[in-house]
Point group: C2
Chain length 135, copies 2
Amino acid sequence: MLIKETQAVLHQRMDEVLRPLGLNVAQYACLRALHDSPGITSSELARRAFVSRQSMNVLLQGLVQRGLVERSDQPGPRRELAASLSGPAVALLDEAHGQVAGIVNRMTEKLDGERLVQLRDSLAACRDTLTASEG
Amino acid sequence: MLIKETQAVLHQRMDEVLRPLGLNVAQYACLRALHDSPGITSSELARRAFVSRQSMNVLLQGLVQRGLVERSDQPGPRRELAASLSGPAVALLDEAHGQVAGIVNRMTEKLDGERLVQLRDSLAACRDTLTASEG
DNA sequence: TCCGTCATGTCAATAGTTTGACACATCGTC
DNA sequence: GACGATGTGTCAAACTATTGACATGACGGA
């Protein structure tokens, strides 16, 4: 499938540029989601990354040990532990985001603005249609 | 990322319709590649599926035990063992392909022909650009 | 109020994948 | 013919992720 191939190659390129920063694609996506939605829970993070809660938890523990994320010690209403980015994490995430943006720019350099907008719209339409027809 | 989300949802839907047939997405992709290119080797199969040779080998062994693929007993020039589909496999693959085609049709039902062609072209352009700029 | 449901976090066990390494065989070059 | 490079298959170990299960705490309806 064309979508799968494109995503696989993009994943490889992202992994190549993120490895020197000590991150993999899953960790980058986790930090990015944490930056966009501070105080999010581990389970919600797992849902957005399409992995199980347990995997996201071990990933989070690794990031906590490296001092990149901090989890609140006092649980919330539903026993959840809010997670947030640390100071050095935002700098690292900025660096990683720049690298990834470079990849995306190279990927879409052959497409003009019109085509790029249509690509985004079409992909979003496909995603929404599939998510709606679950079961 | 939009591409990743779309691919993830598509992967989930494919897994849902392939599970009743006793297949997962990796096995379906393997059978499909084997149908398009009969006599292909395990390593080439692994490259196309973006997995390691070892993973593809255990996947192939499972398919061999189920009588879906057959590997030639006499190695070729480079010690390779050609793999080919068995009789029941093509029927199963046809059934699976119909299910997947239904998913894809539902996914792209919101797009007219023009948009669909542009989507394919844009994705192919992105993939080719990324594969060209390896390193 | 009581109980069923849902949601989160965590543990143990299992399955699947990758990494690293080795043996074998061919091709190209000298 | 000899040698290194390349490509394939296979083994063992390590890692990653998933499945299944359990405890805890809050919400909602009878």
